[in-house]
Symmetry: C2
Subunit: 432 residues, 2 copies
């Protein structure tokens, strides 16, 4: 088995008992075998050694909500309200997508995510098998699902549900376990209640978690009350959505009662600050959710509403906006923001083997170049990672003990070809 030995490194571990370790990390196969101040025993002479000089290591970041293939629409339509942007701009363009576009968009997203330190991403889109192939090849970890809009005729709905089920059967646990799958009705406002119940049943039968968009805008919450006599949390709860492992994206507009119910049901939330601000959806009640024990994590959403996939940006936003909006400068302190992007991301996806650098955990970790003016003086590293760092500071990335970014370059993907393909896809979509 391949071994790595990181020497003279500084590790921000997210392990409460040893938050910062200066020393060594030994990786055997896909796991961390040792991390600590002393040189480890039992390292194979064939282990590849990496000098930690000038670098800071941390767990790979976890992006709990997005639509990778939407990178092709980055910058295509900005500064519009969600429903107009979605119905008049995104959906017509996405209707023109062919499999090749989904693949190219996903590859472009994965290049961007890997290079900015994301090692696991959640993706909801269609033609998910095409995305899965890119995930398999790229070395990234993906929690993938066929997202389904259920506004069409009965037959279309049935066939989409079957697609979603087929994707889980075909891909859950594949790529050495790097790929897992979920079932995902798009949102309560795009899926009739009975249809959502079918997804819940399928998730139960397949034994996978559920994911959906929820309470992103006030308009959507009000519509839910008009149509179904309940706000989205109660509505989904009635449909059994929270009877299984469930992840909801956005959760911007919540009452105290809804927050309490999400905590009680153990529901995971993907907080997407940039997208919520850009689409003017509002500011999620993250400090209240964290206080109530809701399992909050971070997501970028698609690149068309962000417009980048850099989780360092989301971390910094999460640390900044809740202070400014609440008037409490202790809201979401730096360490809590770093947890949101790492160990809380793992928890939100029910993974206890990710998000922390500790013996026995999966070897998903990243290294940033600390020899830059904006990281000086070297004082509080957690503060620097949250308030000063950026995805472009990432030099190396390992996933499952395999180096997928080396010196800022993806080792398993042809970046130049992917950029060229993306440009071609975009031009065809816009002219087509």
């Amino acid at each position: 088995m391949k071994e790595w030995l990181i020497e003279n490194g500084i590790f921000v571990t997210m392990d409460e008992e040893h938050p910062v370790v200066r020393g060594y990390m030994h990786v055997v196969g896909d796991r961390i075998a040792y991390i600590g101040p002393e040189a480890p025993a039992g390292v194979s002479p064939d282990a590849e050694k990496v000098s930690g000089q000038g670098l800071v290591f941390m767990p790979g970041m976890i992006n709990t909500h997005g639509h990778a293939s939407m990178t092709l629409l980055r910058g295509y339509s900005d500064d519009q309200v969600l429903q107009v942007w979605l119905q008049e701009k995104m959906w017509p363009m996405e209707a023109k997508y062919e499999a090749q576009d989904v693949k190219t968009g996903a590859a472009l997203a994965i290049v961007e995510m890997l290079k900015s330190g994301t090692t696991l991403f959640v993706d909801m889109y269609d033609r998910m098998e095409v995305v899965a192939e890119v995930v398999e090849q790229s070395g990234i970890r993906g929690t993938l699902m066929r997202g389904v809009i259920g506004l069409g005729p009965e037959e279309e709905r049935r066939s989409k549900l079957q697609e979603a089920i087929r994707f889980v059967r075909d891909w859950h646990g594949k790529a050495d376990g790097r790929i897992t799958a979920m079932m995902a009705p798009h949102a309560p406002y795009t899926c009739p209640p009975a249809y959502i119940e079918q997804f819940v049943q399928a998730a139960h039968d397949l034994d996978v978690p559920l994911h959906t968009h929820m309470s992103e805008t006030i308009a959507e919450v009000e519509q839910n009350v008009r149509d179904y006599g309940a706000r989205p949390v109660e509505h989904l709860d009635r449909l059994g959505f929270f009877s299984r492992q469930a992840l909801v994206a956005h959760a911007v507009h919540l009452t105290d009662e809804e927050i309490a119910l999400l905590a009680e049901r153990g529901v995971s939330v993907s907080h997407n600050p940039a997208s919520n601000l850009k689409l003017a959806s509002g500011v999620a009640r993250v400090p209240d959710m964290l206080r109530a024990g809701v399992k909050v994590s971070l997501g970028t959403d698609g690149a068309a509403s962000n417009n980048n996939l850099d989780l360092f940006d989301e971390m910094r936003l999460a640390a900044l906006i809740h202070k400014g909006v609440s008037g409490d400068p202790t809201a979401v302190p730096a360490i809590e923001a770093l947890r949101l992007a790492t160990v809380y991301g793992a928890r939100a996806l029910w993974r206890d083997d990710l998000g922390v650098l500790k013996a026995g955990m999966k070897a998903d970790f990243i290294a940033l170049d600390m020899e830059q003016a904006h990281f000086y003086p070297h004082s509080d590293l957690v503060s620097h990672l949250v308030y000063a760092a950026n995805g472009r500071d990432v030099r190396h990335v390992w996933i499952d003990g395999r180096q997928v970014v080396k010196g800022g370059v993806c080792t398993l993907l042809d970046e130049e070809k992917i950029r060229r393909d993306a440009q071609q896809s975009f031009e065809r979509l816009i002219n087509g």
Copy 2:
């Protein structure tokens, strides 16, 4: 005179008549001689040629409020309220600063600013002559001033005022005009009214503009009302502060009447979104100010309350937060955010020769590497510069026609020595 010819470039000019130019830019001495689609005539055979391939050019960015030497305190104290952070953390550490620390901190800040595309920064601090020396050497443009806190005894106040006046006399217009000076009482809550009036008089005598902190927190506004019977805008107006060119930093808590008065008096505002969020001071009414015709611009504030000096971050924040907080997704569109960091910054500093790429303007411009995943597809460049770009995408920087950053490296500063010095200064301050 040195000449530059940029060939096959894409230029985001901020010139309303030609927002995006694909072609050539010819620089002679410190000025842009030509920009347009055709190759220019009359280029010297000695002109240095730069291929624009894979790059996008834009005006250098203008940071209208900061305290460069505070970079030494980056990460030293986070997540606290302004008054506690200032009085219990910053001021005691700053009291230990020696001239060498001011110099090192300023140098570190200038490295960070240059490399992230800032070509002109406003700086308020003490021992300003030390900062001016670093500005002179580094090639950056600086609008500098001795910021004065007037809470001490009469004699100390008099001597500080004299220092501030001396700085203007010694440095205004120096370094080939790259350095200009202002007069700066720190804030209405740290300077008695009569003392502020002395600064106004001195600014009048010296014929330089005025700068101060204003209405950053609610507490400060309330104190102003208690102490002086007026909110800060009216208070400063009564003291004659707005009778001359004046720039106020923050301006977070304003009434409609105050906004109208700032517009009427032609006062410039430095909006510092990251600092205001991080210190939980609030969210400035930027859309309202822009609508009223107030001359808003962008600043980072000091690195201790940000914690970086990357104006791309401020631009993105300015474009995002006002949408999210106001609920209006058309608030501060991408192009307006880009103006805030460039042409509006120039306007806020009463400069009509900066902030636009156009023949006759000063040759202050930057080039970003567009051959990166997060800039693809190449669709709306303004959108990409605001929502996806970051200071680390900057490859080259020119100021006054001189290349001060080449391939991401400062040409006139020893970056490694500056980082090392900064670490030493910090360790002495914290242990001293």
